[in-house]
Symmetry: C2
Subunit: 251 residues, 2 copies
């Protein structure tokens, strides 16, 4: 079934869930050639560095994305749920939270922390894709903003593949440098269970359901665009745009 020509009749909540999962099966970035190369040990260290450096910007903007939505949520109950996401990423003290754990990965890969945090070497396409996500959550109806988080339905699979594949295939990767991912294996299902229940309950017209499906496609596009740019710039054909990270030739 092509997801872009989905029928506009009202779906049952379970049909809506099935349509959301079908989008993941077609468009989630675990299917991207760059991710497969990353997990299968096909990349050089410099290419893994480029991935971690660019993905850092995504991690760093997630609390801004969630705070943007937090500011728009109408009830204490919803805000408590969404505030937990900001806490997961920003932590409760220095060196805790998802962003700090991501920096352990870039540290472990030998990238200078100040350089990573400066965003100087970012691919412009990474910036545009991530910023598109933050803007989406600020501008679209709350139902669509929540639906755009539903890529987390699919992330436990990719995280398991990534951790086992990267540990097996790269001698420069250790359990400690992959510390980011372990808590996500419990956080992501908790987050996505809430968001899935929310959209199944609140998407009550065919138009709302189609908007929910479009929001998830949009989010898949964000993640896919980031990998297209990494692949183009650092793998095939390997054309790094002006100003972006150029791997140290000694790496």
């Amino acid at each position: 079934m092509s997801t872009t020509t989905a029928p506009t009749r009202l779906l049952s909540p379970d049909e809506l869930e099935a349509a959301l999962r079908a989008i993941g099966a077609e468009r989630y970035h675990n299917l991207h050639p760059f991710h497969r190369a990353l997990h299968d040990g096909k990349l050089h260290k410099a290419q893994v560095q480029a991935w971690a450096l660019n993905r850092y910007y995504y991690q760093a903007r997630i609390p801004a994305k969630d705070a943007t939505l937090l500011a728009r949520l109408p009830t204490t109950e919803l805000r408590r749920e969404w505030r937990r996401r900001v806490e997961d990423h920003d932590g409760t003290s220095p060196e805790t939270g998802g962003i700090a754990r991501w920096l352990k990965l870039t540290d472990g890969l030998g990238l200078d922390r100040a350089y990573v945090e400066s965003l100087e070497g970012l691919l412009p396409t990474t910036r545009f894709a991530v910023d598109a996500y933050v803007h989406f959550v600020g501008e679209r109806p709350i139902l669509e903003a929540i639906a755009s988080s539903l890529t987390e339905l699919f992330s436990p699979t990719i995280i398991s593949e990534r951790v086992s594949g990267m540990l097996r295939n790269y001698n420069f990767i250790t359990e400690e440098t992959l510390a980011y991912f372990k808590p996500r294996l419990t956080q992501a299902p908790q987050d996505s269970a809430f968001a899935l229940a929310y959209v199944k309950e609140h998407a009550r017209t065919p138009e709302q359901q189609q908007a929910v499906l479009a929001a998830l496609r949009f989010k898949c596009d964000v993640l896919w665009s980031m990998l297209d740019a990494l692949d183009y710039s650092y793998v095939l054909p390997g054309r790094i745009p002006p100003g972006a990270f150029r791997p140290d030739t000694t790496a």
Copy 2:
């Protein structure tokens, strides 16, 4: 000289202009391999279609970009100048203006007009890059918003190369399908002369000058990102993302 490590002393207006032109010489998208292939006749018709289809979104959002800035400009004089840009792109009656002329190009390439206007086949990276430009102009200081238009300093060169190269190299391209470009040869210099004079007069601190230079680098990044995505998706390695335009195999 690396433009990212430019000195932070105050530049004279002419030094600022030279620094702006140096950014164009390093980063304007006439240097991108996709554009060189386009102008040199190295692309198949389907690849030229993909370019025209994606670039349509840029053209279609330019009036929104300019209207966003128009709404923020403080004086009648500035608004008159900027309103002319909206008129150039939207025209004064049906089938006039830059967007209508761009659709003559997509028509001439055999693309269905309703499909082009639907934006369905757009590369997500095109959307994110163009939207980043519209957001930039809405969110940044007016000085930077105006500076981001300065890629027009460099466009007459690329347009001349493009028109002569495409007419010479592609039997499916005619003067009529390239009608978009001819008026731009006079509009762009008029626009960029105003914007250049404005930033030379109003960037009065080293910080403002650096922000002006960064705004132009940002805009070059927008155009470059669009070509990276076209090259990746339709040329090398030719991986079209889910949902994007797939050329008719008979084209």
